[in-house]
């Protein structure tokens, strides 16, 4: 039962981390290697709003998410837009931006145990004999809401439908009057906001550290690769697969292996089925 509950929570957290990455790749085909950096940035912005400017907590969370979204949009607008379509340059440029942000934060002295966000609600309750704190329950609730919201957003709003059109066939979308650059900026901003949302939900469970940025990037990539790059339904499924696999290894083998699971999942998936477990088959695009 414990495995089930914590596996579920872990899976939802992974899905939250990965959705932003999946969204950006699915729509503009840019592997956003700055995802982890945006995650950490949002954490630090929230922290500075709460602790330095002493705004109230929900307000600073919303402001931080909006600013992360704007940062993401600006990164696309000024840098990534120029290298779009060149796979090597996209990866190198976005990774370098992420690296610059993360190491810049480290240089400014954001490290150590001093940076924590308060949990939303203290205390815990017993769920079928297992103690679960309220914060984790809130994470699960928000995670499920976000998945549902994304589904409604992409199926029933004009912007959402535009994004899906871009993802399916960019040229046809262009012909129908959808501005692909504007949509890509929206997607990037939205993906960054999702990274920020994951940050404000998950960071209160631990300290805000720069290393989290790298781990988050790896987990996001793992989930997206296993689920099939670009398919965010696949990403949610893969989050459950990896989430439970991680919890099972932690329980039966040892906590050191948690990250090894994610990395092995990436390597094995790419070797055996590069389009992922739920990705559309496009064999020729990805291998010879």
């Amino acid at each position: 039962m414990e495995i089930f509950i914590y596996g579920f929570i872990n899976s939802i957290s992974l899905a939250l981390i990965a959705l932003g990455f999946a969204l950006v790749y699915g729509i503009s085909r840019i592997p956003n290697f700055a995802h982890g950096a945006l995650y950490v940035v949002c954490g630090f912005i929230t922290w500075s709003f709460v602790r330095s400017l002493e705004l109230n907590y929900p307000l600073s969370i919303i402001l931080a998410m909006i600013s992360t979204g704007i940062i993401g949009g600006l990164i696309y607008l000024f840098i990534l837009i120029r290298v779009r379509g060149m796979a090597i340059s996209e990866i190198i440029a976005s990774y370098a931006i992420g690296l610059a942000i993360l190491e810049g934060l480290r240089w400014r002295g954001f490290k150590g145990m001093t940076y924590t966000l308060p949990t939303f609600k203290e205390g815990s309750l017993m769920l079928a004999g297992t103690p679960v704190d309220y914060h984790r329950l809130i994470v699960v609730g928000v995670g499920v809401c976000i998945v549902a919201f994304l589904w409604i957003f992409t199926h029933h709003t004009k912007v959402g439908l535009g994004l899906r059109a871009m993802a399916q066939d960019e040229r046809a979308a262009l012909m129908l009057g959808i501005d692909s650059d504007r949509m890509a900026v929206v997607a990037m901003g939205f993906g960054s906001m999702l990274a920020g949302l994951a940050a404000v939900l998950l960071l209160p469970l631990g300290n805000i550290v720069v290393e989290a940025g790298y781990n988050v990037l790896l987990l996001a990539i793992a989930v997206c690769i296993v689920g099939g790059l670009g398919s965010w339904v696949g990403a949610v499924m893969a989050a459950f697969l990896i989430g439970f696999a991680q919890i099972l290894t932690v329980v039966y083998i040892g906590p050191h292996f948690q990250m090894v699971v994610a990395l092995l999942a990436i390597i094995l998936t790419l070797i055996l089925r590069p389009s992922g477990l739920f990705g559309r088959q496009k064999e020729l695009e990805e291998r010879v």
């Binding site: 796979a87 340059s89 610059a100 070797i271």
Partner: protein
């Protein structure tokens, strides 16, 4: 919009055309036009250990050579075979652990450990990467980025090969002159060998794999086999770099799988000029000393070279070497449209 009345025209210099082929032997001027850049490079690099002011900067030269090996191997894979490998650290890690094990457990001398770990390490790397060779583009990049991370975590989790402490007490080079001239000699050897290689038949096939792999397959050639050869050569250079690194620092550890070894060579390649093979070397000779000078600023130097990298990739993606080659071989003039 203002009508453009003139444009820039680029023409090959006469001397470049004359030095093509056997005519290069016509006069000393033509001969020196051809050999000057190469002579400057070779003697410049060979003279470096003498002009460096202190032991510290002589050590920096060895480090520059190590990064240059990785940069050249990245350039070879990315721009001549079309495999973007973000896993330079994987090659370094395998090479360095092999050399450390050979040296501490079997007691082999430095003269043996480096060649053995180069060949053996390249074989191991190629064998491990073999299943992912059919992958292309982003997929190959991601999988190679994951290999060093996964290997480091496995070593950490299983606590093998010295675990987080690493393997200590590895023998060093006999003297620092041997160390530097070995590094520089090997670097020049590999540089010119690979420049020759990419113009052989094999190089032609490799470039065809990059441009149109379906056509190569249609010609009845095994794409994966040729990719494996390229990966073997590239990982041999990486392992050589790793093995030398171990003997310089007398220590092998998880930090040899660190992202530094993957990122800095890529930055050097982008800055120096992609697809020129000499460019990456130039990039390393610029970037590594800068990052040494900035050591006092801590992690700010990583920020600094990431920003240089972004700047170059977005605004000047051709790199220094391509620009220099153009200026050397061609002249420009304005002509009326």
């Amino acid at each position: 919009m203002m009508a453009q009345t003139r444009r820039k025209e680029r023409l090959d210099r006469g001397i470049r055309v004359r030095t093509d082929g056997l005519y290069a032997l016509m006069s000393w001027r033509e001969l020196s036009y051809l050999t000057l850049p190469r002579v400057v490079l070779i003697f410049g690099v060979l003279a470096l250990p003498f002009v460096m002011p202190s032991m510290y900067w002589q050590r920096v030269i060895s480090i520059v050579c190590i990064y240059s090996f990785l940069a050249i191997s990245f350039d070879l894979l990315a721009h001549f075979v079309g495999l973007v490998s973000l896993g330079g650290a994987f090659f370094v890690g395998v090479g360095s652990y092999l050399a450390a094990i050979l040296n501490t457990s079997l007691g082999l001398p430095v003269a043996l450990t480096i060649p053995i770990s180069t060949v053996l390490g390249a074989t191991i790397c190629t064998a491990l990467l073999l299943p992912c060779l059919p992958l292309r583009g982003v997929y190959f990049a991601i999988v190679t980025l994951m290999y060093p991370l996964a290997l480091a975590r496995v070593i950490e989790a299983l606590n093998i090969l010295g675990g987080t402490d690493g393997i200590m007490g590895v023998a060093s080079f006999p003297s620092r002159w041997v160390e530097q001239y070995f590094m520089i000699g090997a670097l020049l050897l590999f540089l010119f060998a690979i420049r020759r290689l990419v113009n052989l038949d094999l190089g032609l096939v490799l470039r065809a794999v990059k441009d149109n792999d379906q056509a190569v397959r249609a010609s009845g050639m095994n794409v994966t086999f040729y990719k494996a050869i390229a990966v073997f050569i590239a990982s041999a250079m990486g392992c050589l770099a790793g093995a030398s690194l171990v003997h310089i620092y007398m220590w092998a550890g998880i930090s040899q799988f660190a992202l530094d070894f993957s990122i800095l060579p890529i930055a050097a390649t982008v800055i120096g000029g992609a697809g020129t093979l000499t460019g990456p070397l130039l990039g390393c000779f610029i970037l590594v000393p800068i990052s040494e000078l900035l050591r006092a600023f801590g992690t700010l130097r990583i920020v600094f070279y990431s920003l240089i990298l972004v700047g170059f990739i977005v605004f000047r993606s051709e790199g220094i070497m391509v620009y220099a080659q153009r200026k050397y071989h061609q002249f420009e003039r304005w002509v009326k449209v």
